[in-house]
């Protein structure tokens, strides 16, 4: 049987294996072949597993997620030699369902970036146009799923690292409600924001993978009980109240083609029975990015401090402990982690804490409250996921602030701990445009239902045109 991995959904692949039409090994090999064919161009993977145990279908794993016996670098030279001795809880959950790790996907170093250009091992390329970025930090998982190198993948999202690459590569990605998916075993970037989530070709696959990885974990004190996941079937949006925050849909820098695609998706939603109404998040958009770039680096400055060369990873020798640590960290970290460690350490310093970290935490409470108020009137909020389509490699790498602004639309709901999902809603300049649906806390089922109905109506072909 010929397997077209570009077209195969995880649900269909799983059916083929369960029904015995294809063996698990055959399927695994088909994806290995696709990787062999297309990954040299895309560089979606940092490590490919020749084999992995299990009876089910393959899954690609972002390289910040710890996998026992399989290298886990977080895209950093400081962890180049690191092989975890334990599986992250999400990996253990995948294994319980028979899923087989096919490889570890590229990421910006420690998930810090929006293009994968901050990976210590070189950028990944967008399957729609290899001269462009796939987004980031989860660009490797996005490129792998988009180009049929894996039926689905796990990503991690701190300020948009699942949703934005899904937008730029034209598929589905969910950043779940904070606390629904265990962070145990996931290399920490910003603990109060990091969430693992599914990267998939369609909404049903995304919902199913979410059901596999979510739930309370005794190894992560911040996890909560999660309502049973409902696989979406609805094709209409009757009764759904969609809020359209004007600041997120009219923000500076949103490309016309992006606005147009989102606008036609909203018209489609109305025709499916949804009510669509403009609303406002006045402070979330204005202050979200600034607030995020204090909270996330502050936490990162502590989370990355354990890489000292003592117990694992890179070690550069020095005359004493202090010199060893300084040399190790200087050689092991790239510019972006260093930049954020410095910002974070500064924001936490005596005399600056109140003005920076303390204020950011207060603003975060305001952002959360603004969102909560809207969810008294709306079921989901909608906006573009990314202000632009995929940009050329190198276009923003020398301008950190321009790079940070890629996440202006994804960050506010992350700061509020809310779930957000990207679906592709059309093309602009031949590149995918992403639509972001944000739900209330634990509102994943509502998001899945809305996204599934819209997905069916939009009929977007997730296979990149040049690969069809």
């Amino acid at each position: 049987m010929t397997l077209d991995t570009l077209r195969l959904s995880a649900e269909e692949a799983n059916r083929l294996v369960s029904d015995g039409e294809v063996s698990s090994d055959e399927l695994y090999r088909a994806y290995l072949a696709a990787i062999g064919e297309r990954d040299p161009e895309l560089h979606a993977f940092l490590y490919v597993c020749e084999n992995d145990s299990g009876e089910g279908i393959p899954i690609a794993i972002k390289d910040v997620i710890g996998t026992r016996g399989i290298p886990t670098t977080a895209g950093s030279k400081i962890l180049e030699s690191y092989i975890p001795v334990y599986d992250a809880t999400v990996i253990a959950n995948c294994r319980k369902r028979g899923l087989r790790v096919i490889g570890k996907t590229n990421t910006d170093e420690f998930a810090m970036g929006s293009s994968t250009e901050n990976s210590a091992f070189g950028p990944s390329h967008n399957p729609w146009d290899p001269s462009r970025v796939p987004g980031g930090s989860g660009g490797g998982s996005a490129a792998a799923v988009s180009a049929g190198l894996a039926p689905w993948a796990l990503g991690s999202d701190t300020g948009g690292s699942i949703k934005q690459p899904a937008a730029l590569c034209g598929h589905v990605g969910l950043r779940p409600t904070y606390g629904t998916v265990s962070r145990y075993g996931v290399v920490a970037f910003a603990s109060s924001l990091d969430q693992v989530g599914p990267v998939a070709r369609n909404v049903r696959d995304c919902a199913f993978l979410y059901s596999v990885i979510s739930g309370r974990d005794e190894n992560d004190s911040t996890t909560v009980d999660v309502p049973a996941v409902e696989l979406p079937t609805a094709e209409d949006l009757k009764g759904l109240r969609i809020g359209v925050p004007k600041e997120m849909n009219g923000a500076d820098g949103i490309e016309d083609g992006v606005t147009a695609a989102v606008q036609s998706a909203l018209e489609l939603a109305e025709s499916l029975g949804a009510s669509v109404e403009e609303c406002s998040l006045p402070r979330s958009v204005d202050y979200g990015v600034a607030c995020y770039y204090l909270v996330a680096p502050a936490e990162a400055s502590a989370n990355l401090a354990r890489y000292d060369g003592v117990r694992y990873g890179l070690r550069e020798d020095g005359a004493d402990f202090r010199e060893m640590v300084m040399k190790t960290r200087d050689a092991g970290f790239g510019d972006e982690p260093k930049r954020r460690i410095m910002i974070g350490a500064y924001a936490l310093s005596a005399g600056y804490y109140d003005a920076y970290y303390g204020t950011a935490q207060k603003v975060r409470t305001v952002i959360k409250r603004e969102h909560d108020e809207l969810f008294e009137r709306f079921d989901v909020l909608v906006s573009p996921t990314s202000p632009t389509v995929a940009f050329p490699i190198g276009a923003k790498i020398d301008d950190p602030v321009a790079m940070y602004m890629n996440d202006v639309l994804t960050i506010p709901s992350c700061m509020a701990g809310l779930p957000g999902l990207n679906i592709p809603c059309g093309l602009s300049e031949g590149l995918p445009v992403g639509l972001q649906l944000i739900g209330p806390q634990l509102g994943e089922n509502t998001i899945f239902r809305a996204a599934h109905a819209l997905e069916q109506a939009i009929g977007f072909d997730v296979v990149p045109e040049r690969l069809r």
Binding site: I65, G66, T72, A74, L79, Y82, P84, V85, Y86, A88, R183, Y184, G185, V186, V187, A188, A190, S191, S192, E218, N219, D220, S221, T222, A298, E299, S301, A302, A305, R306, D308, V310, R311, Y312, F321, R322, V325, A345, L348, S349, A350, Y353, Y357
Partner: protein
């Protein structure tokens, strides 16, 4: 000018929970180096802390014993610093929202009770143990450092006092009383030699009558209460000398060296280190409910300080203090209940019993009470032998009580006379005023009688016959 010392204490007590503070590794002393470790306490990428419920409950218990306010919402913070014994490069500790705050410990003294304020008692994780490899085994001159992570992440309670202490003796009493409180609550073994109780002392002096707080120095590394008292006294004297010579005291940390009994400065701390505290995002706040706090309060029994005060109504303050801080007062009360004279019982416990090194928990109070009551009537040797065995299972005092002390002068006088005759030179010296030689003769008589003579009678008769 008269100077007043100002002393504050910072005490760390290791909790003897089954497992560590934030992981399931065994919490125990003495394992092979690095045998009690896991990804969490070794700070592997992705590892997360999960708090130990028992440790939280025990800290609340201690807080209640110290009359602290128990927080309705306590928060763990990260305290950031690089050191090889600190694998995450931050310690999970508590900062401005500790579990227990604003308490006190009443330290009984001969002149009544001295109340020492407790600023806070909070929960944190211990560091690993750095083993500095050098010939002398001391920090100075070490050439390499090995790290044993077995202790890393074990639960530690930090207790901070107000600067309410003004002399070394009170500091020592406070520490002894706190130790006994912790031991009785069964929170910790609090053994100084194993480091399960450690303390730092902040010392400054000021002109008597002033309420200023001058530059303080910190004394570390003191592994006994007596060394602490000595170290404090020496530091007070040193600071007074500096001020009287017109100098200034530098803020520094002094490591006490018990061998040489001096305090060489280890490092100066002119600037406070910036630990960049912030709330630990991997943990949710601890919110102990009223029910839990009330239940824990209900488990508290009469505390050692109160018992010293109560027992000092019957005995001298000194005896009460020794009995309670030595963990002997419950046995003492049983002896009294069994009919022993309170003062006699206290004497025996504080002296011969302690010297014999017997665990009070193994003793049958009735048998020991019989022994205490018969002490004057049985030979010293029989008493000592019986006491040595009082902790053995099935011990009975009766066989020893049958041996009677020899107090009959008709029996003793010939023996005494014989010894005087055999030692004419000593007898002459005694008679010419060297009264210390009395003990020489008494000792000979006791030896001659195999310890069965009544020492009081022997004393009397030796004097008379000389």
């Amino acid at each position: 000018m008269t100077w007043e010392p100002v002393i504050g204490l910072e005490i760390h007590v290791q909790l003897k929970t089954e497992t560590k503070m934030f992981c399931r590794c065994r919490n125990g002393f003495g394992g092979e180096p690095n045998s009690q470790t896991c990804p969490v306490c070794l700070a592997f990428p992705g590892a997360l802390p999960v708090p130990n419920r028992r440790a939280i409950e025990e800290t609340i218990k201690l807080g209640l014993a110290l009359d602290c306010t128990i927080a309705e919402r306590a928060v763990f913070h990260r305290k950031n610093y690089f050191y090889p014994d600190n694998p995450k490069a931050y310690q999970i500790s508590q900062y401005d929202e500790p579990l227990c705050a604003r308490g006190h410990l009443d330290v009984p003294t001969e002149d009544g009770v001295t109340r020492i304020g407790i600023t806070r008692a909070h929960l944190e994780e211990d560091a690993a143990k750095n083993v500095h490899v050098a010939a002398s085994g001391r920090i100075h001159g070490a050439t390499a450092t090995l790290v044993d992570f077995n202790r890393c992440g074990t639960p530690l309670v930090e207790i901070v006092t107000e600067p309410d202490i003004h002399d070394a003796e009170t500091a020592k009493r406070f520490l002894q009383l706190l130790r006994q409180t912790v031991v009785e609550l069964e929170l910790s073994d609090a053994e100084l030699e194993h480091g399960s109780m450690r303390f730092d002392v902040n010392v400054s002096v000021r002109p008597e009558g002033s309420d200023e707080l001058r530059t303080r120095t910190e004394l570390k590394n003191m592994n006994s209460f007596n060394f602490a008292a000595k170290g404090i006294e020496r530091e007070i004297a040193r600071q007074i000398r500096i001020y009287e010579d017109g100098g200034v005291v530098e803020q520094e940390t002094l490591h006490f060296d018990p061998v040489h009994e001096e305090s060489p400065p280890l490092r100066s701390k002119e600037e406070a280190q910036d630990y960049r505290y912030f709330p630990e995002p991997d943990l949710v706040p601890v919110e102990p409910g009223r029910d839990l706090v009330d239940r824990l309060r209900g488990t508290l029994q009469e505390l050692p300080g109160a018992r010293i005060t109560r027992i000092a109504e019957t005995l001298s303050f000194y005896d009460a203090d020794v009995l309670v801080t030595g963990g002997l007062d419950r046995l003492w009360a049983s002896l009294v209940d069994a009919g022993a004279d309170p003062k006699e019982a206290a004497n025996v416990l504080a002296n011969q019993f302690v010297a014999a090194g017997i665990d009070p928990g193994t003793v049958d109070a009735h048998e020991l009470a019989k022994l205490v009551s018969a002490r004057a009537e049985i030979p010293r040797a029989a008493f000592d032998e019986a006491l040595a065995k009082v902790g053995e299972p099935g011990f009975s005092a009766d066989p020893y009580l049958e041996q009677k002390v020899v107090a009959d002068t008709a029996e003793l006088d010939p023996i005494i006379q014989r010894i005087i005759d055999a030692n004419p030179a000593q007898a002459d010296q005694y008679r010419s005023g060297k009264e210390g030689l009395l003990g020489f003769f008494v000792g000979r008589v006791m030896k001659e009688t195999g310890g069965s003579a009544d020492p009081r009678v022997v004393n009397e008769r030796v004097r008379a016959l000389l």
